[in-house]
Amino acid sequence: MSELLDLSTAQAAQSVRAGDLSPAELLSAYREQAEADELGAFLWLPEEPLGVMGTAADAPLAGVPLAVKDIFCVEGVPTTAASRILEGYRPPYTATAVERLAAAGAPMLGKTNMDEFAMGSSNENSAYEPVRNPWSPDRVPGGSSGGSAAAVAGGLAPWSIGTDTGGSIRQPASLCGLVGLKPTYGAVSRYGMIAFASSLDQCGPITRDVTDAALLLRHLVAGGRDPCDSTSVDFPQEIELPSSEDLGGLRVGVVPELSDAATIDAGVKTVFDATLERIEELGGGVEQISLPHSEHGLSAYYVLAPAEASANLSRYDGVRFGLRSGDGDLLSLYERTRADGFGDEVKRRIMLGTYALSSGYYEAYYGRAQRVRTKIAEDFRAAFERVDLVVTPTSPSVAFRLGERTADPMAMYMSDYCTVPMSLAGLPAISIPAGLSEGLPVGFQITGPAFSENRLLAAAHALEQAIGFDSSPARGKAGAPAR
């Protein structure tokens, strides 16, 4: 059994196809693990295991079950975005991403925990329960896709999808020793994905290795643009399964504004520098570039994302679905429902966003943040004329202790320092585990131009092979090299 759970998804799919493993066997093995969840990774499991389609073995994803962040609507299945305000909500439709992966042969294993409405970097903002990091149960798994990351790292799920607005896939992947990919904005349909900040949100895979991430992405984009999402586009190529073993001829840019910032922990910096050496060993060229506005990314992000969120969350009003409170008049229906239904962080961001858009402040905050966004995108464009890829640490720190940053919102927001610029520019970025610091995983982020996912995955694969990181917390802690 444990051998079965050790298989990467691509390996498991291969075994299924070879007839050595049945999809039902695989599903029940993971189901058993998920039912015994002590990490708080899952918010919902089907009462009866979901039947595996008869054709699953022939389907491209071979019936390997998928953990789905509870931000994705699935028809008839409780979907809460980890918020009280959506307690009991069962959507009348299914998200395109979930539908496409199910059609490709990856049935849903269950719904994973998250920061409420994807707002957070520690998964402590779940209205239901916090999630624990499988590498160290008193530490956070990162957020907001913390449940998805913990489920995969803890062996409760073979792979998962999450969403990333300013780092919500990459940062938990980093903290849990996994691969997390945020695709180019527009590559994956947002239809059915509960909106946090519409111009930034993207769905992507959190997996044990780069090949699995490529496999999931392939089927997320394979159907072409989604007619239900005006901002989705056709991906210009097919996503290839990466096989690259070296980085010969690749020019890699390092950004001192990000990697040398005071907020980056020394242990993280050590692993980052060691990874740069590996890149050179693999034939890549490392050079310094500048993204002069990237240090302002966080400021722009914490205007734009809350502003969009403040509007996106107005629909939770107690009229058509979800929670309703109040004492009989309309104003109290609104004000009490939203006061009772939203948690502290969500309220904070609604307030911040409403303030930034309000009369007299729009230009100073929203208008300026949009212009910073333009400058950041221009910085990246200029950089990609000199280099093929840009690399940074993913998270400034390794997994921190539960409760450590809850009292200081700004400290929590700093978790996104290195991931936010790519989100603002709409660029693809992948985090891969690059080693350990204090016995905890450290992520390495690689970014490329829009729609360069194949290049990104190839480079990530070559590095992954060279690093040889063991994604299993149990063994990883014991044996993996700290470099």
Binding site: I71, F72, C73, T79, A81, L86, Y89, P91, P92, Y93, A95, R190, Y191, G192, M193, I194, A195, A197, S198, S199, P227, C228, D229, S230, T231, A307, E308, S310, A311, L313, S314, R315, D317, V319, R320, F321, L330, L331, Y334, T354, L357, S358, S359, Y362, Y366
Partner: protein, 484 residues
């Protein structure tokens, strides 16, 4: 010589009026989802996750709504924006499922147009709100305890047209709105039915001392859902503002609700925070940049518009202005008229026009003539019979009664009912009998007493039951008496 001093009580004011019109487009489906449009269907039977504002749903704009909006922009001679974007307008109300309305803000689809003598400030696209049905009470806003929301209407494509304050009387506002309504109807982009709310009009009203160019404080009048109410509402507001100014007071900027039952205006002023809609670009939608193909298609779809048609009917066919405007503003009448005119080139356009706008309208009311039993060809034939003196005017009206009731060809009805003018031989015999029967009158006519002729002609007309032309009969009598 006395000196006249103007006191505030006597000073003359002139109204300054601008209109804000919402037009529901007549597409098959809603603005941002595939739900069919409906009117009067069972509540909440035309909804989907998108128009109910469910989590995770996204809007996708309806191409036909954009086509219609471009047609309106072109018809109103607007400058079309090469690139426009949608904004979110944020406010909470139960009829607004997302807590924001997708609308346009600083970059609308088109601006700076004109219709007739009124400048159009802007034309933009948005989505309609749902309908709140006030349960229990009598449909008034005050008093009812609970309301029920019906989302069938929510998301209907809506075009908002804002005029410059170029109107200066309630009547002019009404007249201009009629022209706009006729224009939109002609475009075929909306049902423009004020009762059903597919055309809705708000007015911005201020007054100023006559002859000055200053602008006074304006108020916004809502809910005037008929031409009559629009004119009455504006008139009432103008009077109210005059009374305030004459009394030395100041007009307050506010929104007023017109009650059609009582004709009263009541303030809708919010005691809460002033409105702050927090507009920002809608991130779920990409910009709208009409391509040449989209513009060509919209241009090609433009029919001749009422203002141009009225001008043409007057210029080319010599119709009186009022008749030309009636035919142009009620384009179904104009179409019927021009079709009848084409059916028989020999008919006099003005005579035919009068038969359509007076006689036919009297018989059909508001019914579209296309749906009546009277065909354009038949009406043209009837008018030709009158012109050819084959039937008298009064008999022709009886024929038209019959046609309006049950259709049929005029000649057949004339024959069947014996309404044709009496033939020359028959008439001569009748004339002779009348002369014989009225020797006194004959004597008087011979003696030069003209009015005695009436008795003879009257007798003839009675005998022909109106199937004779009075003038012709008189001519024959004089001829017979050798008075030629």
């Amino acid at each position: 010589m006395t000196t006249v001093t103007t006191t505030p009580t006597e000073r003359a004011y002139e109204p300054v009026i601008g209109l804000e019109i919402h037009v529901q487009l007549r597409t098959q489906t809603k603005m941002f989802c595939g739900c069919a449009l409906s009117f009067g269907d069972e509540p909440n039977t035309h909804t989907c996750p998108v128009c109910l504002g469910h989590p995770g749903t996204l809007p996708v704009p309806n191409a036909e709504a954009i086509h219609f909006a471009l047609m309106i922009g072109l018809a109103l001679e607007c400058e079309l924006a090469p690139r426009s974007i949608f904004h979110r307008k944020n406010y909470f109300y139960p009829d607004l499922p997302k807590g924001y309305q997708i609308s346009q803000f600083d970059v609308p689809l088109s601006r700076s147009g004109r219709l007739g003598d009124v400048r159009v400030h802007r034309v933009h696209l948005e989505e309609d709100a749902a309908k709140l049905v006030h349960a229990g009470a009598s449909g008034r806003i005050h008093g009812a305890e609970a309301s029920v929301v019906d989302f069938n209407r929510g998301g209907t494509p809506l075009v908002e047209i804002v005029t410059e304050p170029d109107l200066s009387s309630p009547e002019q506002a009404g007249e201009w709105l009629r022209l706009l309504r006729a224009t939109l109807k002609r475009l075929g982009v909306s049902d423009v039915n004020m009762d059903e709310g597919s055309l809705r009009c708000d007015a911005n009203v201020s007054i100023r001392p006559a002859g000055t160019a200053t602008l006074g404080t304006k108020t916004e009048l809502k809910n005037m859902n008929s031409f009559r109410f629009l004119e009455r509402g504006i008139a009432a507001e103008v009077t109210r503002q005059e009374q305030i100014l004459r009394g030395g007071g100041e007009v307050e900027q506010e929104t007023l609700h017109f009650d059609p039952q009582t004709g009263a205006l009541s303030s809708l002023r919010s005691k809460e925070e002033s409105h702050d809609y927090r507009y920002f670009p809608e991130p779920d939608l990409v910009p709208l940049a009409p391509t040449q193909a989209m513009l060509d298609r919209a241009r090609a779809a433009l029919p001749e518009l009422p203002a141009a048609r009225a001008e043409r009917l007057e210029r080319e066919l010599g119709l009186p202005t009022d008749t030309a405007r009636l035919l142009a503003f009620r384009s179904e009448l104009g179409d019927f008229y021009e079709s009848a005119l084409g059916a028989d080139g020999a008919t006099d356009p003005a005579t035919l026009a009068s038969w359509v706008t007076v006689e036919l309208v009297a018989r059909l009311g508001d019914v579209d003539p296309v749906e009546s039993p009277v065909s354009p060809e038949a009406l043209a034939e009837l008018v030709r019979l009158v012109s050819a003196r084959s039937v008298s005017g009064s008999a022709a009206k009886e024929v038209l009664d019959a046609m309006a009731a049950g259709g049929g060809r005029p000649e057949a009805i004339v024959a069947e009912r014996g309404l044709g003018l009496a033939g020359a031989g028959e008439l001569e015999a009748i004339v002779d009998r009348a002369i014989e029967a009225n020797p006194d009158a004959v004597e008087k006519v011979r003696a030069g007493t003209g009015k005695a002729m009436g008795a003879i002609v009257g007798a003839i007309m009675r005998e022909t039951k109106g199937r004779a032309d009075g003038g012709e009969v008189q001519r024959m009598v004089r001829e017979r008496l050798g008075l030629g």
